[in-house]
Symmetry: C2
Subunit: 425 residues, 2 copies
């Protein structure tokens, strides 16, 4: 499906006016950055880059869209003609997906004519604002969970298409699997799930439900044990599945306390290897609070897909440089109260200390590469051709490495300052 | 595109186990309801019903999806065969779209075999949880804005497909227009927009930018006047467009104060009819705070698409009744700690006092219709056929009427109790 109409009306009216004034053909540089991190977080996570490239590839105004724009008099005929032939021919650079970012980090830079670059604003921001917000929450959950696996299961609590993107962002940050089948098909993410309370209620007794599930999914399955009485259900579960029962799931109550009781009961029944999975409105704080409880895995839903209190990343797409009447590139920046921005095309580097720990986010306009600092931008599109596509697993590995490089204050769950300062040079 | 994989893995494993146990063919009733309203709101808004019907129509397991499920061993062969022939043949009833809801309101009821009804859980909840959350925020903004128009412009701050649904939910609640072109094409919502700061920065001076915009869009356009100096920009704008200038837009600063200054300046320049549109992180509180300012319209972005602090509606899809081994329908409910639910298929009515003001949300399991109360459920699907489709404008009118019927405490912006109590009978 074409992504071209996932665009704000004003991008097209600006295009029309710029085509008429002649400024549309000026070379322009747009930059995606955030003035601050979502929710007082210590670092942000770049996610959605691969989806931006997919959207760019499908950004074509087909006949149906052109007819809509014509019928509704959104733009004039010369503009419709321009759109009919639209194909982005410029370049895109950006932080590699999975990388960390900080306030002012130029996470994506789009260069082309004003006409071709301005049109991409809305869809690029939609993707990055959503995916970065989810990833910036997910990375905290991963840290809080330590070595225990996390299952993403929030599809039902967010828009049906956002759910697929959220599963992707979560996996990128280290989640083990997702409940979302479309995310499995589209992105190759492992999918997981066994049964809900409805399955127990469907049968005439909990025994019959557990028997049916074990018959179908084997004793290695996860049985949901809190539909009626937890202790009774655990007894029934081990009786029916034997000590090789894969796991039990707890979805209500004081999970820490119940997990202790259930662990004791499982051990007493000889089911030493049966794992305990907990779900039920978990966020990074709840996960951290369960660190000392005998829990073997977490299922996270609502808080993951809603960015744990920060559902959007506040990224903006700003014109930072453009040709003047003489064809010379000039940095530009608006001067609005309380919304400062910095002109000029930027390069970005992470400066590390002798131990390899990040100390500064260095953002420069000089075009020079400081020695010893790690460059953060990679080419994504060249002359309209996508050159930066990669497997999601590569971004997943990069994310783990990028997080490991941060100073320890980056892992604080409290609200506060960015883990490292951004220095503009 | 098929919606069938917008589904949690466990719906399919439950299906497989139920097909094997024989329980899959039991008649079952699932109910969508919320245990509480999002964010301490006084009422919720049912939105997304039309989108659920669209999703239901496209809920087919085509070959590509079946191949994915087979290759990844999500379910066994008999289950794949069932899915290949899947077509919902049951019934759906629900609150008409745009209607208000309260804790425990059965906003949607799905009846069919367990097999066919359980599969719809994820996509139905995804749609309703998103759209109801957005609408429940939007209705408050409408109230706060009084007679002034609201433009929805949050696409860039949410997932690109969620943006289209958010525009739909906002329009349903009374927003005048949206920036989102896809929402215009898909749902016939009026679209609006003129120019961003980038357009001013593109040109060598603000004069040139304004001239270009007026030449293209006419003097009735809206000029953005806060790129550099507001007073200078307003002077330039009226000079170039004349007193018939349509509007100026303010996107930064203390909007109330700046609006007063700009109104004075516009009037002094003879531009008495030039309107003032304000944008910049507005939510229902900021809108209400501007009630006394000379503002003629609001553009709302981030807070609308993120549900103004409550991005999801906490709706659940619960099995409330099913056949037993003898073929008799039985109410069912789980007994989990802190997550009570009520068994039985429910009817819902709004009881009004003599003045026509809502006093009670009456939810019954008796099957009887109380006299004088307004029934809230309408047929949406019968024997698999969609019977409840309607135009978005019909839902928009219904919403206005449903809100007008509520007692005045429903309009409080503070967090608190639902405006009317839900009585279970």
């Amino acid at each position: 499906m074409s992504t071209a109409l996932l665009t704000d009306h004003y991008e097209l009216t600006m295009l029309e006016a710029a085509l008429r004034s002649g400024a549309a053909s000026r070379r322009a540089v747009f930059e995606v950055f955030a003035r601050q991190l979502p929710g007082g977080r210590r670092y942000g996570v770049v996610a959605g880059t691969g989806r931006v490239l997919d959207a760019l590839e499908s950004f074509r105004f087909e006949e149906e869209s052109l007819a809509f724009l014509r019928d509704n008099e959104v733009v004039d005929e010369p503009t419709l003609e321009f759109l009919a032939g639209y194909r982005f021919s410029g370049s895109v650079d950006g932080y590699a997906e999975g990388e960390c970012y900080f306030p002012g980090s130029p996470i994506m830079t789009v260069e082309g004519t004003f006409a071709e670059a301005v049109l991409l604003e809305t869809v690029i921001l939609s993707i990055l604002n959503h995916d970065c917000a989810i990833a910036t929450a997910a990375t905290r959950m991963i840290r809080a969970a330590g070595a225990r696996p996390l299952i993403e299961m929030g599809s039902r609590r967010t828009h049906e298409a956002a759910a697929v993107a959220a599963a992707r962002a979560a996996y990128l940050c280290g989640f083990s699997s997702t409940s979302n089948l479309m995310a499995g098909r589209e992105y190759g993410i492992p999918t997981a799930g066994t049964a809900a309370h409805a399955f127990t209620l469907l049968h005439d007794s909990e025994d019959q439900a557990f028997q049916a599930q074990i018959a179908s999914l084997g004793p290695g399955t996860t049985l949901l044990v809190d539909t009626y009485d937890v202790a009774q259900a655990v007894r029934t579960a081990v009786e029916l599945a034997g000590p090789s029962l894969g796991a039990v799931r707890l979805d209500s109550g004081d999970l820490g306390q119940v997990a202790h009781e259930v662990r004791e009961q499982l051990d007493a029944l000889g089911a030493h290897k049966t794992r305990i999975i907990v779900t039920s409105d978990l966020d990074e704080y709840a996960i951290a609070a369960l660190a000392a409880a005998p829990v073997d895995g977490y299922g996270v839903g609502t808080s993951l897909v809603t960015g744990s209190g920060s559902p959007t990343a506040a990224l903006v797409y700003k014109l930072v440089a453009r040709e003047d009447a003489e064809g010379v590139m000039r940095p530009v920046a608006k001067n609005s109260v309380g919304k400062p921005s910095r002109g000029g095309r930027k390069d970005a580097f992470r400066e590390l200390d002798a131990d390899g720990t990040a100390v500064t986010e260095l953002v420069t306009v000089s075009g020079q590469t400081p020695s010893g600092a790690r460059p953060l931008q990679v080419p994504l599109v060249r002359e309209g051709e996508i050159v930066g596509r990669e497997k999601l697993d590569a971004a997943r590995v990069r994310h783990r490495e990028a997080v490991a490089e941060l100073p320890s204050n980056a892992y604080q769950l409290s609200r506060g300052y960015a883990a490292i300062p951004t220095v503009f040079d």
